[in-house]
């Protein structure tokens, strides 16, 4: 039988370089009272992308601070607005206004989450490329918003149980709409299986006083990765996780030690370790023709248009 083809993304980032980027970012952000933040984020993403390699070629992040700044200002405006409503309600000291303020605040927040996810996906994918081929996310905002809101309401009514199904629904929708040139994706997970995985993980973690948590995160990672499919024409490729509980144990414990013992200064090194771990444990199995991925133009021009508005590709949310 023919040997199964498998490929991996590798991460070549260095803690020292990442540290330098963090320090410069932090300093400029402070000096500019936070206004530099979008540029800081662009620099960080650029670095992370260009240190990620697949089949001998690095990824590229094309986003710029200037583009993200517009979204950043909008996001800040929305947040300020929401907080003002909340504050106004509290300061009025009238129960009805307080209730209204609170309601507007929480509902606004709930609506913002899916809008932000959608905007971020559109923006991020359109600005990501490999060998000149761009990613894309032609998902529909209204559809996503509906799914999200209805899902949240059902989750509330079912005391959180539906949450597992909602997560899977969201993943399915996102992967269904993810494009890399003419390559498409899908997510094959199921709410029921995901739910029981979490129930099992939760109770065994409780019973074993936390020890089982390493198996739980391994299972969650595995459930995410193993259910991703990638399609090139008629060829179906599968993603496979090789993460083990032992591997997670080593990653988490050593990273905690690195961070705590350095009082947080060595966090970039911990991030590099985490990135290496994640990429090292994802395999893409199947006969992918890496030279034959075609650019599909529509994706890019879509996201540069009006929809830039809702890119909250910013860590606030």
């Amino acid at each position: 039988m023919e040997q199964q083809e498998t490929r991996q993304v590798t991460f070549h980032g260095e803690g020292a370089k990442l540290f330098g980027i963090y320090i410069v970012n932090i300093l400029l952000t402070l000096v500019t009272f936070g206004l530099y933040y979008p540029w800081a984020r662009a620099a960080l993403l650029k670095y992370m992308y260009e240190e990620s390699e697949f089949e001998g070629s690095r990824f590229t992040f094309h986003g710029t601070g200037k583009e993200m700044f517009i979204g950043f200002i909008k996001a800040i405006g929305i947040f300020l607005g929401l907080y003002c409503v909340l504050l106004g309600g509290i300061l009025s000291q009238k129960p009805t206004f307080m209730m209204i303020g609170l309601a507007v605040f929480y509902i606004g927040f709930l609506l913002l989450i899916p809008i932000a996810i959608h905007g971020a996906l559109r923006y991020r994918t359109s600005r990501s490329s490999w060998r000149g081929i761009h990613f894309g996310y032609p998902g529909d905002r209204k559809e996503f918003l509906n799914m999200f809101i209805v899902g949240c309401i059902i989750t509330l009514v079912t005391f959180g149980i539906y949450g597992a199904w909602l997560v899977i629904e969201i993943r399915k929708y996102i992967f269904k709409n993810l494009r890399f040139g003419n390559i498409t994706f899908s997510y094959e997970g199921e709410g029921g299986a995901f739910f029981w995985l979490n129930v099992k993980g939760y109770f065994l973690t409780l019973i074993t006083l936390g020890i089982y948590s390493f198996w739980w995160v391994k299972d969650l990672f595995g459930y995410y990765v193993n259910n991703i499919r990638m399609y090139q024409g008629d060829t179906r490729l599968t993603f496979r996780s090789t993460a083990t509980a032992g591997g997670y144990f080593k990653l988490i414990v050593v990273n905690m030690l690195i961070i705590v013992l350095s009082l947080g200064l060595a966090t970039p090194w911990a991030i590099v370790r985490a990135m290496q771990f994640v990429f090292a444990n994802i395999h893409i199995d199947g006969p992918l023709d890496v030279d034959a991925i075609e650019q599909t133009e529509g994706d890019y021009s879509d996201a540069t248009g009006e929809d830039l508005a809702d890119m909250i590709d910013i860590g606030i949310v």
Binding site: E14, A16, K17, F19, G20, I21, Y22, I23, V24, I26, L27, L28, T29, L30, G34, Y37, R41, A43, L44, K46, Y47, E50, E51, G56, S57, R58, T60, W130, R131, G132, I133, H134, G181, M256, I259, V260, L263, G264, L265, T267, V290, D291, A292, I293, E294, Q295, E297, Y300, S301, G315
Partner: protein
């Protein structure tokens, strides 16, 4: 000498072409063999070439409308050659990202310098800023803010109206040398405590009055709290902790939870150190009031002795902040008391103190 080995992507297909780049006077020529073996050439007009800003040693250029063509070159001599060949065109802008092409040692050195600056800003810049912000805060706003805070919190306490009246009468006989309207409220609580709100409200627990034997002791307590009001310590404290919180959240925005917890806790410790400085300042001002009014500084010695016996060494007079070690304050008060002269016996104050004592025992 104008030839370089490059990788070329045409922007339509993900195939990587090993190509040769030739720098012509007004354009770049890219030659490669396509998969069928046919020699292909591409022409890039110099004005349309865009340099990709990046952190690594790879030089990346893009050309044309979307889908853009891409060219990658690893040759270190490329920038120098480009400068020589196209003197009027700048391919590599001097941006902040250039820093990251330095050696790791140089980056670490720079990082160390920046970290030191950050530390200095946090330890010295922030308290200074807090003070500056507090001193620019309008007194009227401060008073009305203090009133709102007072009205909200006093509902949680059982106010002793008669003691409050007696105490305010007592306070009127002391010149605190402050423009703030001082208003004292005594509440029924066994705790040995008192605190000041911004704008002039002082809350005293009757537990602490019960521990007192002399009028000077009580006057010392009031003078200390009034000094907090006078120097706007609450406001400075609020600005300091808010500033520290903002500073750290800007700093750690992208970093994980553990660091945030660490930082929050150390920020709290830093706040405590800051408020200890404020306490010392309040003690000094309070003693100055005593000296100016001719009151016996022994009141402070007695007050700190009471606090020491009540709280052990960690005396706490104010709600949210920790005081300097009581032992230290006691020693400072003793020193001041020894050097004091011109103590006057204030009979009126003595009478008012007796009224308070009588009201207490009823």
């Amino acid at each position: 000498m104008y030839n370089f080995n490059v990788r070329y992507y045409d922007g339509r297909l993900s195939i990587a072409h090993d190509a040769t780049l030739t720098l012509m006077p007004d354009h770049w020529l890219i030659h490669y063999r396509d998969p069928s073996g046919e020699l292909t050439s591409v022409r890039w007009a110099v004005p349309g070439i865009v340099t990709d800003e990046n952190f690594s040693s790879l030089f990346i250029f893009r050309f044309g409308e979307f889908p853009q063509q891409t060219l990658e070159c690893k040759d270190d001599s490329l920038p120098a050659t480009l400068r020589q060949r196209y003197p009027e065109r700048i391919f590599f802008k001097k941006g902040i990202t250039r820093v990251f092409k330095w050696s790791n040692g140089a980056i670490a050195g720079l990082a160390l310098v920046l970290l030191t600056l950050l530390g200095l800003g946090y330890w010295f810049g922030l308290p200074w800023l807090a003070g500056a912000a507090a001193s620019r805060f309008p007194v009227r706003t401060e008073v009305s803010m203090g009133n709102t805070m007072y009205e909200n919190m006093i509902q949680a306490y059982d106010v002793d109206q008669r003691l409050t009246a007696a105490t305010n009468d007592f306070a009127k006989s002391i010149d605190f040398k402050t423009p703030y309207p001082i208003s004292i409220t005594v509440v029924k609580k066994d705790e040995v405590n008192a605190f000041a709100l911004p704008g002039g409200h002082i809350v005293v627990f009757d537990g602490i009055i019960r521990k007192m034997k002399t009028k000077e002791e009580f006057a010392a307590l009031l003078a200390h709290e009034v000094s907090h009001v006078h120097y706007r310590h609450s406001l400075r404290n609020i600005f300091r902790s808010l500033g520290g919180y903002l500073f750290l959240s800007l700093l750690l925005n992208d970093i994980n939870g553990i660091v945030t917890v660490l930082a929050d806790n150390s920020n709290m410790l830093a706040n405590l150190t800051y408020s200890r400085e404020l306490e010392t300042e309040a003690d000094q001002k309070a003693m100055a009031i005593f000296q100016a009014d001719g009151l016996d500084l022994k009141g402070f010695v007695d007050l700190f002795t009471v606090l020491k016996s009540e709280h052990g060494d960690m005396g706490s007079l104010k709600l949210l902040s920790t005081h300097p070690l009581t032992e230290e304050r006691l020693r400072a008060a003793e020193e001041m008391a020894e050097g004091q002269n011109g103590v006057k016996e204030d009979d009126e104050l003595e009478i008012k103190w007796h009224t308070i004592e009588k009201t207490l025992n009823k």
